[in-house]
């Protein structure tokens, strides 16, 4: 039997708190899960620094990837298979893309990418087509199979329906992470009726569409995205932790580039500081390594690096104040000068953060063709964009709501405000 058709002698199941069970029958899927590159995802948290706010949010990209695979498997095997619009030849490539779509995420994904100007999608592609264990497994299907999987994830695969299952405004990725993040953070929003959505999903020429009768289930899903964004993903305390994390990496890079002699030599980071990293350097790095270095760097001679690491490890996070850039952008310049005068480097201790810095996307009804909207399949068969039928979605889609905060070490200012009058002035200005 060809490898691509091989089935396990007995179905394997993973117990999962969101989907109850994740079912694996395909030998290829089982073999991919066993590779070192996929196992590495166990050591990358799904929500980065959010665990410092919602203590349950320790779940990993490994769990999420299995969840996305399971949703896609159910859509195909229980919903699409046998339908005229669906080509069963695409089943395996779709399942592999679902399982591997996050393969290139690095430690504390967003922050690490920002600091080192990286793109996890690029690394996903590189791991799939490079000299890796995942590539070895996929190549056993056919020599061009790794590239096909990479094309689905990179959205350049000719069959757009396949792409839309993994990446669209109502895809398996979002359906898994919303439910999983809600479960692990313990929040009550984020839940929606996925069973209903799976039942009303229909394959169409270039994308998945939703049967009109399922509109209310999709409304619930859109509301979940909206609420999770503001309540979890953009939580100001979690952002504070991310701000500190990014500043640690900035500081370590700056010290390295200035020839600073680290007591705890940042061997795994050197190639990133020098921008000479190879794929293997990236695959070898995970959150356990970052956290170990942060522990050690608490004892570094450099006061800024030591302080920032201590803040992250012991959750002494920066305080935040609301900030209105339209009327207060000049105030920032004044504050920066005051921080400098007080001997605090504003590069590390005064940070403005905007909602556009973490774009967990809202539903947008396809303005100027940039993003493919969600379509309802009406009783007569014609397609209609969701917000044209749903007042609820229309009310929240593409609406502007911005948020700006300024982060600073309030504890430090409070501690010394009596001996250093400038600290008191800075506090007053920040709190105004």
């Amino acid at each position: 039997m060809e490898y691509k058709h091989e089935k396990l002698f007995e179905e394997k199941v993973f117990k999962d708190p969101v989907h109850r069970y994740i079912h694996v029958r395909d030998q290829v899927i089982w073999d991919v899960i066993g590779t070192r590159e996929f196992q590495r995802l166990r050591r990358i948290r799904q929500l980065g620094t959010t665990y410092l706010v919602f203590h349950g949010a320790e779940h990993s990209r490994f769990q999420h990837s299995l969840g996305v695979y399971e949703i896609v498997r159910r859509i195909i095997d229980d919903g699409f298979s046998g339908r005229e619009e669906w080509n069963d030849e695409e089943r395996l490539v779709t399942l592999c893309a679902a399982l591997l779509h996050d393969l290139g995420h690095g430690p504390f994904s967003h922050a690490f990418e920002k600091v080192f100007s990286l793109d996890h999608e690029h690394f996903t592609q590189q791991i799939l087509i490079g000299d890796t264990e995942v590539n070895t497994v996929l190549r056993k299907v056919s020599p061009d199979f790794p590239q096909k999987v990479a094309d689905v994830i990179g959205k350049t695969y000719p069959d757009k329906l396949v792409v839309s299952l993994i990446s669209s405004q109502i895809d398996a990725d979002r359906m898994d992470y919303l439910q999983r993040d809600a479960y692990y953070t313990g929040v009550s929003y984020g839940h929606f009726d996925m069973e209903r959505i799976l039942r009303v999903m229909r394959p169409a020429e270039e994308q998945v569409v939703i049967k009109f009768s399922g509109m209310h289930a999709v409304e619930d899903y859109i509301m979940s995205r909206y609420q999770m964004y503001w309540q979890v993903y953009f939580h100001p305390v979690s952002r504070s932790a991310e701000v500190i994390l990014m500043k640690i990496l900035h500081r370590a890079r700056q010290l390295h580039n200035n020839g600073y002699q680290f007591t705890y030599d940042p061997v795994p980071f050197r190639s990133f500081f020098n921008q000479t990293f190879q794929m293997e350097d990236y695959i070898s790095l995970d959150e356990s390594i970052l956290l170990a270095y942060f522990q050690w760097w608490r004892k570094e001679k450099d006061a800024i690096l030591a302080d920032l690491c201590d803040r992250f490890i012991n959750r002494r996070l920066f305080q935040y104040a609301e900030f209105d850039p339209a009327n207060e952008y000049r105030k920032i310049g004044q504050l920066e000068q005051m921080f400098r005068d007080a001997g605090l480097d504003p590069e590390y201790y005064l940070v403005a953060d905007s909602s556009s810095d973490l774009p967990y996307d809202f539903y947008r009804p396809g303005e100027e063709n940039e993003r493919v909207p969600i379509y309802l399949q009406m009783p007569g068969g014609e397609l209609r964009e969701l917000s044209r039928s749903s007042d609820i979605v229309d009310a929240i889609s593409g609406k502007r709501r911005t948020d700006h905060k300024i982060y600073f070490p309030e504890d430090l200012l409070l501690k010394k405000k009596d001996e250093i009058p400038l600290y008191a002035d800075m506090l007053k200005m920040l709190k105004e």
Binding site: A326, I332, G333, S356, D361, E368, E370, V372, T402
Partner: protein
Amino acid sequence: MLQEHARIVQFISLAQEVSGRKKLQKMVYIAKKMEFPFVEKYELHMYGPYSEELTLRVEELCAMGFLSEQCTDKGSYVQYHYNVTEEGERFLETAETPHEMLEICIGKLNGKSSRFLELVSTLLYFDHLPKEEQVAKVHIVKSKLNFTEDEMTAAFAFIEELQQCTSIPAG
């Protein structure tokens, strides 16, 4: 601080006006590919490189009153026009001076149609591939736009022209 916001205001100020959200998206992407310091993260969407970060940034700048967004009804679609407000120009006084070549690059980009920039940006998205594969990818992701060979040739020539005039941008 707020330098990333300031760069976008500066971009539109140098362009004087940008008509079309899609056009703005593609112009910033191409400028970024020419190594001007824009940090907005782009991903390939069904219609080419698109940055949700840029969309949000522009929305924020409009909400702050630094950019104005006006809308014209073009019949089958709506077009948005972006300008810098007086307050936006004052905000720019706090910004770093842009590289001298940026204005030239923006002038060239703004003179092109949205469709052409869509083609150029998508080719640039695949610029790690050999030329034939770049073209093949564009035909796959933009199959409905039916780009002609002449358009492809013009797009490659335009990329070269941009690269020549923006060869050593400072960070």
